[in-house]
Amino acid sequence: MTTAQTTTSTRGARIEARDLTKTFGAFKAVDTLSFEVEPGRITGFLGPNGAGKTTTLRMLLGLIHPTAGSATIDGQKYHDLDHPQSIVGSALEATNFHPGRSGRDHLRVLAAAGGLPDSRVDELLELTGIPAAARKRAGEYSMGMRQRLGLAAALLGDPRVLILDEPSNGLDPEGIRWLRGFLRHLSNEGKTILVSSHLLQEVEQTVDDVVIIANGRMVRSGAMSELRGAPSTIVRTSDPAQLAGALRVADVLAQPGDDGELIVETTDKRLVGDVALRAGLPIWELRDRKADLEALFFELTEGTNRNLGDGNAVPTATAPTTHAPHETDAISGQEGANE
């Protein structure tokens, strides 16, 4: 279901990485990485610190020469783009400003390189919410202001693709909310958006797709809904086996979970409740089962983190081997009704 239909001015542009590899000496920073980023969607590019995210983004942008493989944007290498600012906007690090140059002048320098008028600079300062700071020297900016300035720089040429490296770093909760809405708005215009982060939770509510890497290699990619898995329901009762049988009769599959729980493959809690009532079983608990993305992310990425050395993996004692159910949305207040 590719989107990008119905949108006005923006023609979709895909990002494509093919077997991207980068070695620094004996160190393989990125290892035969292939992925695609679709227009009209926000894609999270995830991995722990040192996984190779920034190196990959810099290869997409022609800043680092790949050892092997290729990266294209809208079918072209970044280096070959004639008007890169109108195709790709990027914000890599919030520290890339000359401290003695004002934010507005920083944008004017970039605008000149892209043949854009100064009026566009003022427009973006307005749009990113920093017009008041525009004439202050960038050295005096807070981290949040730098992020906004970086975003303004990325958007100068009204690009079709947006590549942002850890854009919410240093933003306050209000800023993060603003950024989320802003990115959603841009993606609805049909733009292709790639956002890196080392925290899945941070982008969980923002992204449609994910590309997860660890130690320079792909570990998982796909739609966020896929990652979450099929929604199901957790029910606790006096006799799980009997309830499972009763549910099977109603064409609903159920497996026993931890601690006497029963995991039912449906989101229809009413159905579960009705079946239990007919079977004469008490319901002690009935709630949504959601994949614990944090645990899943750890499981996917932390196994052998090369940056921590052998046998020194982060102790994830609390992370179970399968998706831990996340305690949310308890809809029934029957817990412990019998005791």
Binding site: H65, H79, D80, P84, L110, A113
Partner: protein, 264 residues
């Protein structure tokens, strides 16, 4: 290309460095031309056998370009900083993002630095010609004895631009900006002139001396020479070619290296 050049000019004129340099260049040009205007026209110096020798034109040339040796050191610094501050503040990333063809980006820097050299050259001439001409007039010496003086003034603009390009090369060769400035200025200001002085006493190597950057720069503007020195300076055009060759070699090397670099 034009866009990238415009961007380079904006980079330079949107930090406070540029007017600090402008004041430095103006003041040094005015002071040195005032000093040379007074010193070179004193009878006890020109009459003395160990002093300087030169035609009326050469004396005037020397007066107007008296601040050139300070000027070119400042331009060397400007050249280093045009690339060094990009490494230091990591703005090189946005430079290559907005101009991904790095040869174009580097060529824009080269053109911009030649332009910046010319701008500073004009500022320097503003100081040196006004003060120098005044001092010479007070000494009853014709401040414009021949049109050759105009050639010297024009070449001093070129010399400053070429030194900025030498700086660009040094700034890429030594990516740490502070180290690059210390090494660059140290070599150009102290080591190279001393080397030239030392070599002039070695018969076999004497011929190399006029080809050293500082010697070539002085020969370009055709000033007075130290009497009693064996080594003959190059003619102005040969000197200009020699300095241009240094600038071309260093900036070409810098461009080649920058194109291959990973920017991380």
């Amino acid at each position: 290309m034009g866009a990238a050049i415009k961007s380079e000019f904006r980079k330079f004129f949107t930090t406070r460095l540029w007017w600090g340099m402008a004041i430095g260049i103006f003041v040094s040009a005015a002071l040195f031309s005032g000093f040379f205007g007074w010193a070179l026209t004193s009878d006890d110096i020109t009459a003395d056998q160990t002093g300087v020798e030169g035609s009326a034109t050469q004396i005037v040339n020397s007066v107007y370009t008296g601040g050139l040796s300070v000027g070119y050191l400042l331009m060397l610094t400007v050249g280093i900083m045009q690339i060094g501050s990009e490494y230091r503040h990591k703005t090189i990333t946005s430079t290559f993002l907005s101009t991904p063809k790095r040869v174009t980006a580097m060529f824009a820097k080269i053109v911009a630095l030649l332009g910046i050299g010319a701008v500073y050259g004009l500022i320097s001439l503003l100081g040196s010609v006004s003060v120098g001409a005044m001092v010479l007039s007070l000494r009853d010496i014709d401040p414009f004895p021949s049109t050759e003086v105009l050639r010297t003034l024009a070449l001093s603009l070129l010399a400053l631009g070429l030194w900025a390009l030498i700086g660009l090369g040094v700034g890429i060769l030594i990516p740490n900006q502070v180290a690059a400035i210390l090494v660059g200025v140290g070599v150009a200001w102290i080591i190279e002139p001393l080397l030239g002085f030392g070599l002039s006493f070695v018969d076999a190597l004497q011929g190399v001396v006029p080809y050293l950057p500082s010697q070539a720069t002085n020969a370009m503007v055709n000033g007075v020479t130290q009497s009693g020195v064996e080594v003959k300076p190059l003619s102005w055009w040969a000197a200009a070619l020699v300095l241009a060759a240094y600038a071309a070699a260093l900036s070409a090397f810098g461009t080649w290296r920058t194109v291959r670099q990973d920017i991380s």
